[in-house]
Structures are given as structure tokens and as C-alpha cells.
């Protein structure tokens, strides 16, 4: 298999995203595209810990929120560039990631997941209460100042920004599939004791994976805040958001490079469509996308536990078998 066919899905997906803004200038459509790419990249970041290292977190909103707030506060409180905020967010997220990574060596499976939720809730409360600095629950509007240094970009520029990040993160995951550290992480994910017996420093490796995942998440948090132009603690530190990262990845294909992006396309499109459809109706429908999440998750776990990439692999195998069969008959 050549590199091109192996990454055919990514070529189509990212190539398509690169071409679209040249043709379509509809703001709503471009907005959806930016969000698909950003949520995809965030899910890919989650996948580094949850998929490749097997450390399933439901608190990645912590790092997202840290990045979002670091960027927003750097602009509003200190009048500096959001890029500087992104850097600060990464530093803080690395610290928080080290804590979570350390916890992953003490707590397994569901207990680890719960501890990650706890971190995001602690941050939610801290940021909500520290009104003097963070503006508390009201949130912070991030002023739009045009320019690359201030991340005040137009829709088309944002598509390419999000696309660059998405491709970069995809590259990180491809690296994890073919490198020594990637194979060793697979060992840790499959059986920690066995990995340890084979000379792998499992504890250190988990901390590294979780910390890298945290830093990647934080970068996207900053970008998201600058793109959307508003941060508030109830959203950026929400469990909903953490679940979204995990769910996109699980539905798309956990532990695969393309999975998070496929999941993001499906879920983001569904959500956007549903929101638009039910927007004019009773407010009782505002949470309908959560019902869809739940239903999608149940369907995937029941019929396609390996996600959309798993379905694609199965279809490809069947097609190949069919072609062989046809040749045999001919």
C-alpha cells in the first residue's frame, strides 16, 4: 500500500476542506467547516491519551478551558497577543496534564475518568468564583482586532488555520501509529503489566501521552476562543464538551488517525442540522442534540464498536474478497 492510498481518507477530507473556501463563500457553511475541523482536531488531541494510550478522560474540557481563558485573558487583561496566551495555556495545561497523568498511574479505568471530571469541575468553580480576574460566570467577550498577530481572521482564513491544525494533529497520530513510542503505547493500552515486563517504562509513558494530549487540546482551546469571540466557564469547562471529544473519537474510530475527524463530521453536521431545524420550535428541543449523541453512541457500541473507520475497513475487506471471488470465477 502506498502512502497515498493509506491516507486516502485524509487526502479527500483535508483536500476537500482546502478547496471548499475557494468555491463557497457562504458564512454559515464556512463556520460549520471551521467547527468540524476544530472539533476534529480536539478529538484527535483527546485520542492521543484516550485512544493510543488507553487513558480515557472525560475531563479534557479542563485543558480546552485553560487554553481558551489563557488566550482571552491575555488579550483583555494584559493587552497582549493571543498567541502569547496560547503559549501560556500550553504551559499551564502541561502542568495540569502532569497531574492527570500522575493520577492515571494511581487510578484505573472508570476511577481515572471520574478524577478527570473532578479536575474540570474544580476549574469550573474556581474560574466562576474568581470574578475580579476572570469576570466569573458572565464570561469574557474577546474583542475582534483584525490581523494575524491578534488572531482576528476572516472566515476563509479561519478555515485554513483550523485545517493546518487538523493536518498537524493528524500527522501526530500517524506518527504514533508507526513509531517506537506508538507501539509501546499500544502495549501499555493493551496490557500494562505485560508492557512493563517487556522493558517499557509504562508510568512515564502514560504521563507523556496524557500531557501531550493536554497541550494539544489547550492550543485548540485558545483558537476556539479567538474564533468564537466569547468564553464562559459553564461552557468551556463543561462535561458536555469533554464528552464531545471522547464521543467524536469513539464514533469515528478510537485509536485511529482519521476516526476523530470522521466522528466530528458526523456529529457536528447532525448537531448543526438539528439545531437549525428545531431552532424555531419550543425551547424543550434545545437539548435534542444530546439525545442524538446518546443514540449515536448506543448504535456504534452495539453494531460498530470500532467506529466509522472500522466499518470502512470491513467494507474494504469485503470488496477485496468480492474482487478476488470474481477473478476466481472468471
Amino acid at each position: 500500500m502506498t502512502a497515498l492510498t493509506r491516507h486516502a481518507g485524509a487526502v479527500v477530507l483535508f483536500g476537500g476542506a482546502a478547496v471548499v473556501p475557494l468555491v463557497i463563500r457562504d458564512a454559515f457553511f464556512l463556520d460549520s467547516l471551521v467547527l468540524i475541523l476544530l472539533w476534529g482536531a480536539l478529538s484527535a488531541a483527546w485520542n492521543v491519551a484516550g485512544g493510543y494510550a488507553g487513558q480515557v478522560s472525560i475531563g479534557h474540557a479542563s485543558f480546552f478551558g485553560i487554553g481558551a481563558y489563557a488566550g482571552a485573558l491575555m488579550v483583555t487583561r494584559f493587552g497582549k497577543s493571543p498567541w502569547l496566551g496560547m503559549l501560556l495555556g500550553v504551559v499551564i495545561s502541561i502542568g495540569a496534564g502532569l497531574i492527570i497523568g500522575f493520577l492515571s498511574n494511581r487510578l484505573k479505568g472508570p476511577y481515572f475518568a471520574l478524577s478527570t471530571i473532578a479536575l474540570s469541575q474544580v476549574l469550573l468553580i474556581a474560574v466562576s468564583r474568581w470574578r475580579g480576574f476572570t469576570a466569573g460566570g458572565e464570561g469574557i467577550p474577546v474583542p475582534f482586532r483584525p490581523g494575524f498577530a491578534t488572531l482576528g481572521l476572516g472566515h476563509v482564513a479561519w478555515v485554513y488555520m483550523a485545517l493546518a491544525v487538523a493536518i498537524l494533529y493528524y500527522g501526530v497520530e500517524v506518527y504514533l501509529e508507526h513509531s517506537r513510542i506508538g507501539y509501546q503505547l499500544a502495549g501499555v493500552r493493551e496490557d500494562e503489566d505485560a508492557a512493563e515486563a517487556l522493558g517499557i517504562a509504562t508510568r512515564a509513558l502514560k504521563v507523556i501521552a496524557v500531557t501531550v494530549s493536554a497541550a494539544l487540546t489547550s492550543v485548540c482551546g485558545t483558537l476556539w476562543a479567538q474564533y468564537v469571540g466569547f468564553v464562559d466557564p459553564a461552557y468551556v469547562f463543561s462535561v458536555d464538551l469533554s464528552v464531545r471529544f471522547a464521543l467524536n473519537t469513539i464514533i469515528g474510530g478510537i485509536g485511529t488517525a482519521l476516526g476523530p475527524y470522521l466522528g466530528s463530521i458526523l456529529i457536528t453536521v447532525l448537531e448543526t442540522y438539528l439545531r437549525a431545524t428545531f431552532a424555531g420550535m419550543k425551547t424543550g428541543f434545545t437539548g435534542i442534540y444530546l439525545v442524538i449523541y446518546g443514540a449515536a453512541l448506543i448504535l456504534v457500541v452495539r453494531w460498530a464498536p470500532e467506529g466509522l473507520t472500522g466499518i470502512a475497513a470491513r467494507l474494504r475487506a469485503r470488496a477485496a474478497a468480492g474482487a478476488r471471488g470474481a477473478r476466481a470465477h472468471a
Binding site: H178, S179, R180, Y183, Q184, A186, G187, E190, D191, D193, A194, A195, E196, A197, L198, G199, I200, A201, T202
Partner: protein, 241 residues
């Protein structure tokens, strides 16, 4: 090569291993036998770094490894297998072995060819691309050995790699262990199957209630009154006679 000095491991009020001393020389093939719950696997866990002993010390290749992390001990050249096999179930056989090989060979491509050689040597070549969890137990036990071998150990600890095998498979495993030993590896084997142990081990250590009650050549062990009472039983001795 491997020396245990008065190793004691307790779990609460239970003493699983009591003051066990043992000396394994380079290029020796030592067997450890004993009834269920005698402390055999616990002893392996102490040696390989999974448990820290309450008392005593473990020396490997001249250095004190007591309380060192398992991965450190593996890198020093002592690798263990697990009685309850722990394959990386979703990965292929060759990938399983390659993860072991990567400990000595950092490059993925070189590690893969190392792994292919080991897979071949362990008779797993026909299953190289199969998922580990699809293998039957006999092949999983082989995979366990292959993966450990890929880390290029000087001492190999095998924890009941013959349990649950049929006579043919058992013979194959005995042959494999013999060959590895002949190639220069130091091997310590935990096993229940006395017949295999008699054919294999140069020296046998008997554990009972966590204590070492006997040590000697297979012939000496079979003749030992305490071993017969504790473990083998009269019938075995009569059958051997």
C-alpha cells in the same frame, strides 16, 4: 547470575514467601515446583520487580535489584512471562513480539525484522499476522515466550508455560525451552507437570507454604521424603519406579 537472599513477602497476615534463598548460575536450567499457593508466582513477582519483598534481597548479574521497577529489571536482562497469559490482544503476533524487540532495538524497521526472526524461531511464523486474541492457548503460551525472548534476556523466567497443553504441544514447548537453554540462555521454570520437569530441569527447587523445603537434581527430589509428603504423593513415586 541470579541470587535471592532470605526473601520474604507478606500480604497482610499471610506470608506468601518465607525466607527463600536461591542461587541460579549462568546457563543453568532451574525448575521451581510446589502445590498451588506455595508461593511460586509470588516469588517470580518479587524477582521481576512487581512486588517489593518485606525482607531479603535480590541480586541479578552482580547488582542489587530489590525493589527496582520491572521495566528496569527487564532492561538489565531478566524477563518474565505470565502464568495467566497477557497477550496484546488486538495486535498481531508479530507486533506483540516487536514491542518486546523495541526495548533493545529502537528502530521500528530493525525491531520488526528482529521480531520476525523470533516469531520464526518459536514456530509462530504461520500465525505472524493473526490477532493475538484469536490464538488458541498453546500458541498464546508460545507468544508469551516469544515476546519475552525478543527483549534478549540473559535470564528467562517462565511461569507455567506448559500448563493446559496437550501432550504434543507440551513436547513442542519442552523442545523449545531446551533449545533456548542450549543456545546459552539461563532459564527458571515454574511448572506443575512433573514429567516435563524431570526431563527439563537440571536442578529443582520445591516450595511449600512459601518455604523452600528441598533442592536438588530431579532424581534427588523424587526421593525426598518431605517432597513426596507435601507434593508428589506416594502414587507418583510408585509410578516412577
Amino acid at each position: 547470575m541470579l541470587t535471592l537472599e532470605g526473601v520474604t513477602k507478606r500480604f497482610g497476615g499471610l506470608t506468601a514467601v518465607r525466607a527463600v534463598s536461591l542461587d541460579v548460575r549462568e546457563h543453568e536450567l532451574v525448575g521451581i515446583i510446589g502445590p498451588n499457593g506455595a508461593g511460586k508466582t509470588t516469588l517470580f513477582n518479587v524477582v521481576a520487580g512487581y512486588y517489593r519483598p518485606e525482607e531479603g534481597r535480590v541480586f541479578f548479574a552482580g547488582s542489587d535489584v530489590t525493589g527496582r521497577a520491572p521495566h528496569d529489571i527487564c532492561r538489565l536482562g531478566l524477563t518474565r512471562t505470565f502464568q495467566i497469559v497477557k497477550p496484546f490482544g488486538n495486535l498481531s503476533v508479530v507486533d506483540n513480539v516487536m514491542i518486546g524487540a523495541l526495548t533493545r532495538t529502537p528502530g521500528v524497521r530493525a525491531a520488526r525484522s528482529d521480531a520476525e526472526r523470533v516469531v520464526d524461531a518459536c514456530g509462530l511464523a504461520p500465525y505472524a499476522t493473526a490477532r493475538a486474541r484469536a490464538l488458541p492457548i498453546a500458541l498464546r503460551k508460545r507468544l508469551e515466550v516469544a515476546r519475552a525472548l525478543a527483549t534478549r534476556p540473559r535470564v528467562l523466567l517462565l511461569d507455567e508455560v506448559m500448563a493446559g497443553l496437550n501432550p504434543t504441544e507440551l513436547g513442542g514447548m519442552v523442545d523449545l525451552i531446551r533449545r533456548l537453554h542450549a543456545e546459552g540462555l539461563t532459564v527458571v521454570v515454574i511448572e506443575h507437570i512433573m514429567a516435563a520437569m524431570m526431563r527439563l530441569a537440571q536442578r529443582i527447587v520445591v516450595l511449600h507454604h512459601g518455604e523452600k523445603i528441598a533442592e536438588g537434581t530431579p532424581a534427588q527430589i523424587v526421593a525426598d521424603r518431605r517432597v513426596v509428603d507435601a507434593y508428589l504423593g506416594e502414587e507418583f513415586v510408585l509410578a516412577q519406579a
